[in-house]
């Protein structure tokens, strides 16, 4: 149990131990800071100074990293840190009322630490538990299926300072909820199957190319081609090397398929990494695991140990001389932008998660400037399967342009949320029928940055040539207010913008402000025009994909669910976002004036009754 109140001598031992474990290597800063914080509860100024000395990095660098990531704390946040997942699906399941109940019982304001330093309660972006929400993290351990009763139990446990280890185990149960298996989830795959089938690296590469496998993170780049570029690129500098990186920073709101793959199919994922290492000539693979999945670290390390014992990792894998490969898991610390592969690489190198300029692409200059193949969890699992079962078998599944299957993470208004694997080409309507969705008015596919699909488009297909997706599939029925869905996403991007480029840093805030202004009943046609202008700037001027796609959901809902905006608009040409008359309140107070000159007589229309102002409220 971390101690919220740092105690000097104990802390310094913890810091020294962490520095020693990582050899004072500044590229391992993320891991050093996380391991220290797990013991001390927060990163005090003294700790940062010592880490700076121990890694021989400028102190500003350390502070910059500690300040960037949502899960690093430069202020004490209590011995119990409760973070409510605040995705739209959690809101629809009633997280706002439950969180208010928790705060009330603990005499707390959200975001503030209790006076005795015991506990703090706040919100965080989607935790990848949308199929079993509302969810929260207590000291970064997930608690699912929150109810009023469970809130009360947790409040009691915190009040009595019960260590997390003694909390009821069922609180921490995370279900896989696999509802439909296909080629990947249903495969008969034993650890080593792919490695035993290995031919020459060129032959394996040819098979991956031949299979038509494309990146499962959403962008859909050919995996074989990526490996080919990486294999052809030369390492540089004093320590030339090639690297395999598994992108397990599954942060797109509504996505949780990687969580399930890493919980129950980790061998397949690790084997895919090993195959990739064999092809590109890498000796080392890194998994970048999102901070929200901290609880998976020990189980995953146990799988790695087992694989080493079985000669599936390490020196001379399966007795092949020269085939050396091992895998290490790095934890992220709560930054959505690190799902972008170059931001991920920066983070892996112990820096702030700011996306790099491309080119050069990671295949030629990635981790530590060396050729690096960065692949999604699901892509790597598929590559293992292709290697074991053959390219032709795989290519026969799906559509000509989208070979294989896609795992969808389905949440929201349906009877059976969970994991569904389909061959590419499946219609949206088919997916909706299978998961028991009724009276559906919209699906948000591929997350907050993805596509909002209306009923007249439910005949469209999940495939790279139609609707590409990383796997997020959120369902909204007729009782939902699509304006509030878009407003939730607009705020998500404000929180997750890395702040590096102005179009994104400012644009996401302007967009969220405009949505709030409309929500509060002050919006007019002018504001809609302004929203379009901001979305255009975001799309064309942002440095990376985060900013470029941050306006998608607002743009889609403005086109497809326009009345949900229009019903909130004023007929006035323009109205301030604030109450003009109230802007004179302080001067009226000091001067005691109340004459007509001390007021603006402008009628403000209140937002209409009947339109829910809370996300997820039926409107």
């Amino acid at each position: 149990m971390p101690n919220g109140n740092s105690n000097g001598s104990g802390d310094s031992a913890v810091v020294e131990a962490a520095l020693l474990r990582h050899g004072g290597d500044g590229t391992r800063l993320m891991q050093i800071l996380r391991e220290i914080q797990e013991q001390t509860g927060w990163l005090s100024p003294d700790i940062l100074t010592r880490v700076a000395e121990g890694t021989r990095l400028p102190r500003g660098r350390i502070e910059g990293v500690a300040g960037f990531y949502h899960f690093f704390h430069t202020e004490p946040l209590g011995r119990y840190r409760v973070l409510w997942s605040d995705n739209i699906t959690d809101r629809m399941a009633g997280n706002a009322d439950l969180m208010a109940r928790m705060c009330k019982k603990l005499w707390l304001k959200p975001g503030r630490v209790s006076e005795d330093g015991l506990v703090s309660v706040d919100t965080t972006s989607c935790t990848g538990l949308c199929d079993q929400g509302p969810a929260l993290l207590v000291n970064y351990r997930p608690v699912t299926r929150m109810t009023a009763e469970r809130v009360d139990q947790i409040v009691e446990l915190i009040r009595h300072q019960t260590p997390l280890a003694e909390w009821p185990a069922e609180f921490f149960t995370v279900e896989d909820n696999i509802r439909r298996k296909d080629a990947l989830l249903g495969a008969d795959f034993q650890p080593g199957d792919a490695l035993k089938a290995l031919k020459s690296p060129q032959e394996v590469l040819d098979a991956v190319k031949e299979s038509g496998l494309r990146g499962r993170g959403g962008a859909g780049f050919s995996t074989g081609q990526k490996w080919d570029f990486c294999r052809a690129a030369l390492g540089s500098g004093a320590n030339p090397a090639h690297y395999v990186v598994c992108n397990a920073d599954e942060g797109e709101p509504g996505t949780f398929k990687d969580r399930v793959l890493l919980s129950s199919y980790a061998d397949m994922v690790f084997e895919g990494m090993t195959v990739s290492g064999y092809v590109i000539g890498a000796k080392k693979g890194l998994v970048y695991l999102r901070g929200e999945y901290r609880y998976l670290l020990e189980p995953l390390n146990a799988v790695l140990e087992k694989r080493r014992a079985a000669k599936l990792l390490g020196q001379s894998i399966l007795g092949r001389t020269g085939f050396d490969f091992d895998i290490e898991i790095h934890m992220g610390a709560g930054a959505y932008v690190c799902g972008e592969e170059t931001a991920l690489l920066e983070s892996l190198e112990g820096k702030r998660g700011v996306p790099r300029k491309r080119p050069p692409f990671p295949v030629t200059s990635g981790y530590l400037g060396q050729p690096t193949a960065v692949n999604n969890v699901e892509t790597l699992a598929s590559a293992a399967l292709i290697t074991a079962k053959g390219a032709a078998w795989y290519k026969a599944i799906g559509t000509p342009k989208s070979a294989g299957t896609k795992i969808l993470s389905i949440s929201g208004d349906c009877e059976r949320p969970g994991i569904y694997e389909y061959p590419y080409g499946v219609k949206v309507s088919q997916v909706l029928a299978d998961c028991g969705a009724r009276d559906t008015q919209a699906c948000q596919i591929a997350g907050a940055s993805g596509l909002c699909v209306a009923p007249n488009e439910f005949g469209r297909r999940i495939a790279f040539e139609d609707i590409p997706t990383g796997g997020s599939f959120m369902v909204f029925d007729n009782t939902r207010d699509m304006f509030q869905v878009a407003r939730n996403f607009a705020h998500f991007f404000v929180h997750e913008s890395c702040g590096f480029c102005t179009p994104c840093r400012v644009g996401t805030t302007l967009l969220a402000n405009a949505m709030d202004k409309i929500d509060e009943g002050h919006g007019g046609e002018y504001d809609i025009n302004d929203i379009w202008r901001v979305i255009r700037t975001l799309k064309t001027a942002s440095h990376c994909g985060l900013g470029q796609t941050a306006g998608n959901c607002v743009a889609d809902t403005l086109q497809k669910f326009r009345p949900s905006y229009e019903l909130r608009l004023n007929v006035r040409d323009f109205e301030p976002a604030f109450d003009l008359d109230k802007a004179l309140s302080k001067m009226r107070e000091v001067t005691g004036r109340d004459d007509p000159g001390a007021h603006f007589h402008i009628a403000h229309r209140k937002s209409r009754a009947g339109l829910g102002t809370k996300a997820g409220d039926p409107s």
Partner: protein, 183 residues
């Protein structure tokens, strides 16, 4: 086809709200080009003419400075009501500028500090003739709709000239490199 806009002088009104008149001074830096300008426009309410209120048919309103008191709000509303096109000119009009530095403090505390007299307590001037200050200083676009923004502190005479001639010729004004200065 190609029917030109009717040839008539456009009416231009200008004012300074919570500004320093620096933008108006910069406006005069268009120098002799003002003779070309008056061939195209007629000045309505403006410090140049000393006309006190806008005619109801102004074409262009140019406003310097942000909104810091009740009178500023009334003037701004008068401009919006009477001008087809409203331009926010200069850093204060666009961002609040220097006067908005007070926004991080409570106006009540500021007045209490400014009007404290040793041994005689605090006497804040209080007369219906004096407009009340707003709790915070706002840029123009937070109070009314603004059509164009002319940045600079102040925008140079050349920038103002380029902006106005673009506008008068029916082009969307663009300043581009070299005409945006903050010094």
């Amino acid at each position: 086809m190609n029917a030109p806009l009717p040839k008539r002088k456009l009416k231009v009104a200008t004012t300074s709200l919570a500004g320093c008149f620096g933008c108006h001074m910069s406006f005069l830096d268009i120098d002799e080009r003002i003779l070309d300008l008056v061939e195209l426009v007629e000045f309505d309410r403006s410090p140049i003419t000393d006309i006190k209120h806008c005619s109801p048919d102004c074409d262009i309103g140019i406003i310097e400075g942000g909104v810091c008191n009740a009178e500023n709000v009334h003037v701004l509303h008068e401009f919006r009501k009477n001008c087809k096109i409203l331009i926010a000119m200069g850093a204060c009009a666009i961002n609040g500028g220097l006067p908005a530095q007070r926004n991080s403090l409570d106006i009540r505390d500021i007045l209490a500090a400014v009007y404290a007299q040793p041994g005689r307590g605090v006497h804040i001037p209080n007369d219906p003739e004096i407009p009340l200050l707003l709790n915070e200083v706002h840029p123009l676009h937070e109070v009314v709709r603004i059509d164009y923004f002319l940045p600079g502190c102040p925008p140079s005479g050349d920038a103002i000239w380029k902006f106005l001639t673009d506008l008068l010729a029916g082009r969307t004004p663009t300043l581009g490199h070299g005409l945006i200065h903050y010094d």
